[in-house]
């Protein structure tokens, strides 16, 4: 038998706590059982604290007895262009391997799970900061010699095990490993606790990679809604929110756009439906006390049928919430008084309400019963006035340029959150409306649209509003909690 010309190299990219070390141990065990010289290294360090880390293995697929006492020299670190199997326990980590040149068409079989675990920098953004998975998948198709890509986390959960077992199964099933299935399974068996579950996960991964079984279906990508669907959804939501008259108001408002572009009408309808169903105490109380909500919580926390679930809500209403419910004149006076004293957020009452209990439910539900009062409240008056102002701006812009009108419409995205977050969003929205919609620097619609888009992105760039202030060239004022002045 002729000896291999080089060692077989495996690079595993994983996140701390996913059992990457165990995976490396299994491979080492299997290689040793085959009588092959093998080596594994890792750089755990503090990466075990949830960060990205790698394990690197080399296997010389020849029995040691045939080597005549010679030892293959194995590297402790991977080299680009020199990886036979690239394993990634998460999609962006597969991308990182490609970014670093560890996946090359001449040589590399890529085995990666397609699920995402978002990095802090992706999830902390004020809008959607997620990296597009499709770009990584496309790169995998172009850069790997062959790839096995499916949601291995899901498969692991379905098999009642951890992802490392599925990864090993997929490696073995892909046919790329120089180790037989039995050796891998024996290695898992020797690791003791949890071996049965791991073997299940291994088998499932093996079958999918070997083509003997279908990978679990990925959730279908939601298609963009048609304008008519948006309007129907919006109308239904507002009927639920405040009754048929309110839903009719929604239709009327959309109708004022006349024969505008369908995409524009869709976007205005979407924003308008969300805005008109603004999240005040009444709405939150209503949503939190629906039977469907308790069912969803049970599902989310994975409660079994016979297990009671106690739900405790964290509510902290304060002056602002009270004022928003009062008649406009009274509410304004209360709020102005609190603002003057810098106490807008000072007297919030932190409540831990056991909504699943009798009295807690009653307390929250009773707030929901205030729904008929809503149209008489300060918040209602203010929201409707601002909606009209925004809508008028869109209407005015539409004949000039659909693109411009669309940009103005999308500014309503900035209105979200509660309390201080909401105040900040509202001030950003108003600042853009004042500076770029009412008094644009340029009469050119395209330039104006571009300026609005830029400002909107800036408003979502940081919560301190530094980017927006820089873009607008002026301070954005709003009411903070205590250090307003």
């Amino acid at each position: 038998m002729s000896l291999p010309e080089r060692t077989f190299t495996i690079l595993v990219a994983a996140l701390g706590g996913e059992g990457g070390g165990m995976l490396a141990d299994w491979l080492m065990h299997a290689a040793r059982a085959c009588g092959y010289p093998a080596q594994a290294t890792s750089i755990p360090g503090v990466a075990q604290r949830t960060g990205a880390t790698t394990y690197y293995l080399e296997i010389f697929a020849a029995q040691r007895e045939l080597l005549g006492g010679r030892e293959p020299v194995m590297s402790l670190a991977p080299s680009p262009g020199n990886v036979d199997v690239m394993v990634a326990s998460e999609l962006i980590e597969a991308g990182r391997a490609m970014q670093n040149g560890y996946v090359t068409p001449e040589r590399t079989v890529l085995i990666a799970s397609t699920h995402r675990i978002y990095a802090t920098v992706e999830k902390m953004q004020m809008a959607d900061g997620r990296f597009a998975s499709e770009r990584v998948l496309e790169a995998a198709r172009q850069l790997a010699q062959r790839s096995v890509l499916f949601d291995m986390r899901q498969l692991a959960q379905d098999s009642g095990t951890v992802i490392n077992a599925v990864l090993l199964g997929a490696m073995a099933g892909s046919g790329a490993l120089p180790l037989p299935r039995e050796a891998c399974e024996a290695a898992i068996r020797s690791s003791g606790t949890g071996a049965e579950a791991s073997l299940r996960g291994f088998a499932a991964g093996y079958d999918i990679a070997a083509g003997a079984r279908q990978a679990p279906e990925a959730a279908p990508q939601a298609l963009p809604l048609e304008t008519a669907d948006i309007l129907a959804l919006g109308e239904a939501r507002l009927r639920d929110y405040q009754g048929t008259a309110y839903a009719a108001l929604f239709r009327e408002r959309v109708a004022t756009l006349g024969q505008a572009d369908a995409e524009l009408i869709g976007e205005v309808g979407r924003q308008l439906a969300l805005w008109m169903s603004y999240e005040d105490i009444i709405r939150v109380a209503d949503l939190k006390t629906r039977a469907s909500r308790f069912e969803r919580v049970r599902r989310e926390v994975g409660a079994k049928d016979d297990e009671p679930v106690v739900v405790i809500d964290y509510l902290k209403p304060g002056v602002e919430e009270v004022a928003s419910l009062l008649p406009p004149a009274l509410g304004r006076r209360l709020r102005a008084w609190a603002e003057r004293r810098g106490k807008l957020d000072a007297w919030n009452v932190g409540l831990h309400v056991k909504t699943s209990g009798v009295s807690g439910y009653l307390l929250v539900r009773s707030l929901a019963w205030l729904k008929p009062w809503r149209p008489h409240s300060l918040r209602y008056a203010e929201e409707q006035a601002l909606i009209e102002r925004w809508l008028a701006a869109v209407r005015t812009a539409a004949p000039r340029s659909t693109a411009l009108a669309l940009e103005i419409a999308q500014c309503a995205t900035l209105l979200k959150g509660y309390g201080e977050t909401h105040r900040r969003g509202r001030s950003n929205f108003l600042a853009i409306l004042d500076a770029l919609v009412d008094k644009p620097a340029s009469a050119d619609a395209a330039a104006q649209a571009a300026a609005i888009r830029k400002a909107r992105a800036a408003a979502l760039a940081d919560p301190e509003q530094k980017a927006l202030e820089k873009t607008l060239g002026r301070p954005v004022t709003w009411l903070r909690a205590e250090n307003t002045r």
Partner: protein, 693 residues
């Protein structure tokens, strides 16, 4: 402790001819026992923590051999412990991470090296350099050169590493000098095999005690002894070391057919060098290279005769030396010139980068330039370029961060909230898990000056601001150094700062080792040493202990410390047990209770997806791995909503933040009652009936 070493402990007793399979740093541990050590110490730190951990788990075996094991208070303490080898024929070893540990140890190391040793003294350095490192990037080589401590840098495979440990002791004794064994991160964690020898009991040990104290003023670091010691180092010990290295062929020459060129590499870079040559088709799988290689398993002192012999007659050589400054390359150049070997062109940092880790890619690129084979790299370049094009931007990075449910995270949430109220303030950070506060989403901490030095680093800057500044220190840092250089110094100098001590109970970043103030101790450690009593004893009289998960209370306490008229050091003890350790304890307990059919309440937090508006301010105040985002289930909304995924340990920070920051009403706490009692079931029926009504 984070990892149990029961299996590894058994490996420490392997006898002659048995095969050891395992990790590099554990092979070193076995090699120490094969070398007949009398004592071993160290301070935990990646990548050498496992050495101390396994020894602590192997106390019975150590007792049988009469080996004294000590987890030293710091690297300085560890190095000082080697003082036992100055007067007595005791072999001893200590370990710590380098260069930070070596920095701390260098006072004792200088004195040790000057006095010289009778018994072999070995310092095992975990060279924390390159990918996976958690510290400043420097090299240990300078310490060797300034103190004449010999530096071993073995080829990174287990038989060679073990052999060099054994030689290290002999070299130390032959030259009366301490010896450092440098192991890079990947070498510490490399899994391989070697054929073991049986453990050797030391001549003197805790089972065979010394009888006569030996006094020798010549070994004291006072003049005139110090003058004599310096001369002795140069005139006697150095030549003795060089002689030992030559006689035992510690450095290796691997011949090759290309007589006109050659490569000189650090032992630790040998495998990377061979891999590069293999990629360029200049070496076979067994390392037989067409280019001759001089592999320096000892990088200090150098053996000039060997270098001259290797280089003489060659057209050019390449020095593969990781790190900077280029001590080896410079020394090789000087050696050749000194020996009138002038025809050979010495390459090194001209073809390889001066700074940074010598990864596979770096070495193959450098070697390719040396042999003029750059074209072989085109495929790599193309693959990387293609990936960059397809991604369009760099992928999001994923640095390490606070664990799920970490008790330190809420402190930084509170500090963010304080910032909102009083404006930004200066924060002196320290070393530990809490250094992750400097990363997103918190970005808290302006400086890091060293382990336990947070408060010391705050002492001047604190006087330069109109408002008080804050220092963070972990309990690990507190006992390592912070108690004296921080707290005692601040009290003594009437400092007016605020110190937050993260009391999580363990040296968590390095693998949750015990500390003097750990909540429970193994039997070989003193019980009940308390941070609070230590602070009281030093005269700290403004002291508050706050449960870290109480964000609101922490915020108010910080504000009080900032506002109080009381002068002097103000200490807030942020009390919350390391969640890794807590879960390690709680999980089996819970599993047992569940199995026994007992009532267990499982707590998980969640976000109501229909009230979450997708602003993610909750994430900016947390960064918990289980608080993440998902596609918005509302077809009218686009931005992803926050969600709490599996793995949540129910620490409660989400809810506390929502309250303390008045964020949002979307968070809920769910208590799942497992094995419910009759009463639980009755209550559930009642509530369901009510809610359905």
């Amino acid at each position: 402790m984070e990892r149990s070493f029961k299996e590894e402990v058994a490996k420490l007793t392997l006898g002659d001819g048995e095969v050891f399979h395992g990790e590099g740093i554990l092979a070193v541990t076995k090699a120490l026992l094969q070398s007949g050590v009398s004592y071993v110490g160290g301070y935990q730190g990646a990548p050498v923590s496992h050495m101390m951990d396994v020894l602590n788990d192997a106390r019975d075996i150590m007792d049988d051999l009469g080996v004294h094991i000590e987890t030293n208070a710091s690297e300085a303490g560890a190095a000082a412990m080697l003082g036992a080898s100055i007067n007595y024929p005791l072999r001893g070893a200590v370990t710590f991470k380098s260069t930070v540990g070596t920095n701390v140890a260098s006072d004792a190391l200088s004195n040790l090296a000057s006095a010289g040793v009778k018994g072999g003294a070995l310092i095992v350095l975990g060279e924390d350099y390159g990918e996976g490192a958690s510290i400043i990037q420097e090299r240990s080589h300078a310490f060797a050169m300034k103190s004449q401590i010999w530096l071993l840098d073995p080829r990174p495979n287990l038989p060679k590493i073990v052999e060099m440990v054994e030689h290290g002791f002999a070299l130390s004794e032959a030259s009366s000098s301490p010896v450092m064994l440098e192991l890079r991160i990947r070498a510490c964690h490399v899994q391989g095999s070697f054929t073991a020898k049986k453990n050797r009991a030391a001549r003197y040990s805790t089972r065979n005690l010394l009888q006569d104290p030996d006094f020798d003023f010549g070994r004291i670091s006072l003049p005139p002894s110090t003058y004599a010691q310096e001369k002795h180092k140069i005139e006697v010990r150095w030549p003795a070391a060089v002689q030992y290295i030559r006689e035992h062929q510690l450095n290796e020459v691997f011949p090759g057919e290309r007589e006109d060129i050659g490569i000189l590499c650090q032992g630790g870079m040998y495998n990377a060098t061979i891999r590069a040559l293999q990629q360029l088709e200049l070496a076979d799988v067994f390392g037989a290279s067409r280019i001759p290689i001089y592999c320096m398993n000892v990088t200090y002192p150098l053996v000039p005769e060997e270098i001259v012999q290797f280089c003489a007659g060659k057209r050019a050589v390449l020095v593969i030396e990781e790190g900077q400054p280029a001590y080896l390359e410079d020394a090789i150049l000087a050696t050749l010139r000194r020996h009138d070997v002038n025809g050979v062109k010495v390459h090194g940092k001209d073809l390889l980068p001066m700074a940074g880790e010598y990864t596979g890619e770096v070495v193959v690129t450098g070697v390719a330039k040396f042999v003029d084979a750059g074209v072989a790299l085109a495929a790599i370049v193309a693959a990387k370029k293609k990936a960059a094009e397809l991604f369009g931007t760099l992928l999001p990075t994923r640095p390490p961060g606070f664990c799920v449910g970490c008790p330190e995270r809420p402190v930084f949430a509170a500090m963010k909230l304080v910032e909102k109220d009083v404006g930004k303030y200066h924060v002196s950070a320290d070393i530990g898990c809490h250094t992750f506060s400097t990363l997103p989403p918190f970005n808290i901490g302006h400086t890091v000056l060293g382990y336990g030095l947070g408060l010391a680093s705050n002492s001047a800057v604190n006087t330069m601001f109109g408002k008080r500044t804050v220092t963070i220190m972990g309990d690990g840092g507190f006992w390592h150094n912070g108690l004296t250089s921080g707290v005692a110094n601040a009290v003594f100098n009437k400092g007016d700062g605020i110190l937050v001590i993260m009391k999580n109970g363990y040296s968590s970043a390095t693998g949750t080792q015990e500390l003097p103030s750990s909540p429970q101790h193994s039997e070989h450690k003193a019980a009940d040493m308390s941070i609070e009593r230590a602070l009281g004893g030093l005269g700290v009289d403004w002291m508050r202990t706050v449960n870290t998960y109480h964000v609101g209370e922490m915020k108010e306490t910080l504000k009080e410390a900032m506002a109080t008229g009381k002068q002097g050091l103000k200490v807030i003890i942020a009390d919350g047990e390391c969640q890794l350790e807590r879960q390690r304890r709680v999980r089996p307990e819970t599993a047992n209770k569940l199995a026994a059919g007992k009532r267990v309440v499982r707590v998980k937090y969640g976000v109501d997806e229909d009230t979450c508006t997708g602003d993610h301010s909750c994430i900016r105040l947390s960064g918990c791995p289980t608080l993440t985002v998902k596609d918005n289930p509302d077809p009218l909304r686009r931005d992803p909503v926050a969600t709490v995924i599996e793995g949540c340990v129910g620490c409660g920070l989400c809810g506390e933040n929502a309250h303390a920051a008045v964020l949002c009403p979307s968070f809920y706490r769910a208590e799942v009652i497992q094995n419910p009692t009759l009463w639980d079931r009755a209550m559930r029926s009642l509530r369901s009936a009510w809610i359905a009504a």
